[in-house]
Amino acid sequence: MTATLEKPPVTEAPVKEPRDWRGPALFALVAVIGLVVMPLVLEPFRLGLLAKYLTYAIVALGIGLAWGQGGMLTLGQGVFFGLGGYAMGMHLKLNDAGDGLPDFMVWSGVETLPALWEPFRNPVFAIAMVVVVPGAVAWLLGTLVFRQRVRGAYFAILTQALAAAMVILLVGQQGLTGGTNGLTNFFEFFGQDVAADSTQRGLYFTVAIVLGILFIAAWQLQRSRFGRLLLAVRDGEDRVRFLGYNPATVKTITFTLSAVMAGIAGALFVPVVGIISPALLGVVPSLELVVAVAVGGRFALAGAVLGAVLMGYAKTYFSEELPDAWLYLQGALFILVIGLAPKGIIGFLRRKDVAA
């Protein structure tokens, strides 16, 4: 028997209630902490780390939308993160190289700039590609897969295989992608010295604001009719189909949106951290973010963001302090969260609410 429905929480009917201001108030509080307090109290190095975690949080937001709201467990978000990151990285490399070739191409003996790279000189084109390429890949995969009603675990396996294939492709095409080392050694970011504290500070604000905007957008989407439909598809795809909707369309749109978010995150990650390489977007990093979302609470968008930031800190802290124990700890965390608290931290916080 393969009648395997997951048991998500019951979604309440949209009863007209007095507007709940707690959510927006909390959002405003977090925004003030993020945009005012953090830049004041954190030294530049720590602020840079936070910026990195916030780019992960953008990916997590997309995972929260696709997995938490839509029931599509995507294990390949690293692919889209990477596509966005490489698009940005290629532009920065070309910008640094001026009329010459990017440094790694010279090392691998490439003599003329590959045609694929040429249009990335144009910053507008590069930024457009950050959104278009991940979106197009996700749309194509989503259309082909969801149309045939391939879903659940099958979909998870396929996205994972895509991540594995992507890494091997990037590593193999040394002259085109920089191979295992990826793209690194950036000097200039849109006219600014990329390593300067002021640039990094500006980048932090950019990342934080982009995250805020995408969060509000995802939140509105979740509250909209489309969001309700998405939940319905997660909880009973066939019933939605019998009602005359096309679940494949709903899922494809959502998956594409989550991929676009991951692409934007990747593009922001490149100037913040200064590198994009296959190791940052393979099977393992993709899964780590899924787990971060599970830890934070997959059924709430805020949980996804919270989980990504917390797991980012935990990883940095433990791999500095106890590098050997980190993998054990991470594994144990997984088992405990999935086993005992499938709703994550947000689930714990909300439990009181429901009882009251």
């Binding site: 997951e6 295989a161 492709l169």
Partner: protein, 288 residues
């Protein structure tokens, strides 16, 4: 022409290894809806078993290593099923994440026990040499897979236990109401499936080095075999595994290793357009 011929044993033996790995996955997935990411670590456990036995006995101990690795990996699977997985039946995506946590821990255990660098298992002396273009060690792997498939087929179709297993796979509730102890059947399936991964691990020591992350290289491909072959389908797994092994090695031969995986992925997606549920489908009236 000679290259094409040389590629054949490589493709067939990789397909045979994938088959051994995928058999366990397809039954646990098809019967229990469990996606076991730690399956790859059972391969690794089997490979390290062969490595240890080689130190204790000698390099020709492969025939001893096979049953021992089967037991070691099988018991690991049984323990995992009893302690964790059985609480998650019907939640495939959660088992996937849970078992990935287990797989991380097991990899780290292997790193602590055997060290991070790869270790080498020497091929037995009686497997050196080749039959035409077919090296003996790859031929041995192929025979191992054929033997395992025959054994599984006999078990499933000719033994009472195996028929119970099929019954549970087709309709769990009905099987339970007919008096089958489904929990017991699940344990057996898990034991056998994990044990086969252990055998695959021993087979891999014949063609390459052994490291803590050995399993991760094969697990994704093995899952693709399950997807392409159809859930819980012996025939499907056999055809899909050999096809994938051959496709992989020929795609590498004609293009290069980095494009091969992309081609394989594209072929699978294209294949799913025609047969979204894989080669063979277990007929059922249940609506997912």
């Amino acid at each position: 022409m000679e290259g094409i011929l040389n590629q054949l044993p490589i493709g067939l033996s990789i397909g045979a290894v994938l088959l051994l790995i995928a058999l366990g996955l397809t039954f646990t997935f098809g019967q229990m809806g469990v996606i076991n990411m730690a399956h790859g670590e059972f391969i690794m456990a089997g490979a390290y078993t062969a490595y240890l036995l080689q130190d204790f006995a000698d390099r020709n101990a492969v025939l001893v290593a096979l049953p021992v690795a089967f037991l070691v990996a099988g018991l690991m699977g049984l323990i995992l099923e009893r302690t964790a997985i059985r609480h998650f039946y019907g939640r495939p995506l959660d088992t996937l994440l849970l078992t990935w946590g287990v797989s991380l821990v097991l990899q780290q255990v292997a790193r602590d026990l055997f060290g991070a660098p790869n270790v080498q298992v020497l091929s037995p002396t009686w497997l050196q040499g080749s039959l035409g273009p077919m090296p003996y060690n790859r031929l041995f792997i192929l025979l191992l897979a054929v033997g395992s498939v025959v054994a599984i087929w006999v078990y499933m179709n000719r033994s009472a236990q195996g028929r119970r297993m099929q019954a549970v796979m087709q309709n769990r509730q009905l099987a339970a109401t007919s008096g089958i102890n489904t929990g017991r059947v699940d344990q057996r399936t898990f034991f056998i499936g994990s044990g086969l991964a252990g055998i695959a691990g021993v087979a891999l020591t014949l063609i390459g080095p052994v490291g803590p992350t050995l399993g991760t290289y094969y697990i994704v491909d093995a899952f693709l075999v399950v997807v392409a072959g159809g859930l819980g389908q012996l025939r499907g797994a056999v055809i899909a595994a050999l096809a994938l092994g051959l496709l992989n090695s020929y795609a590498e031969f004609w293009t290069n290793a980095s494009l091969a995986k992309v081609i394989v992925f594209a072929v699978i997606i294209a294949f799913l357009q025609f047969r979204p549920q894989g080669l063979f489908v277990l007929r059922s009236r249940a609506l997912t």
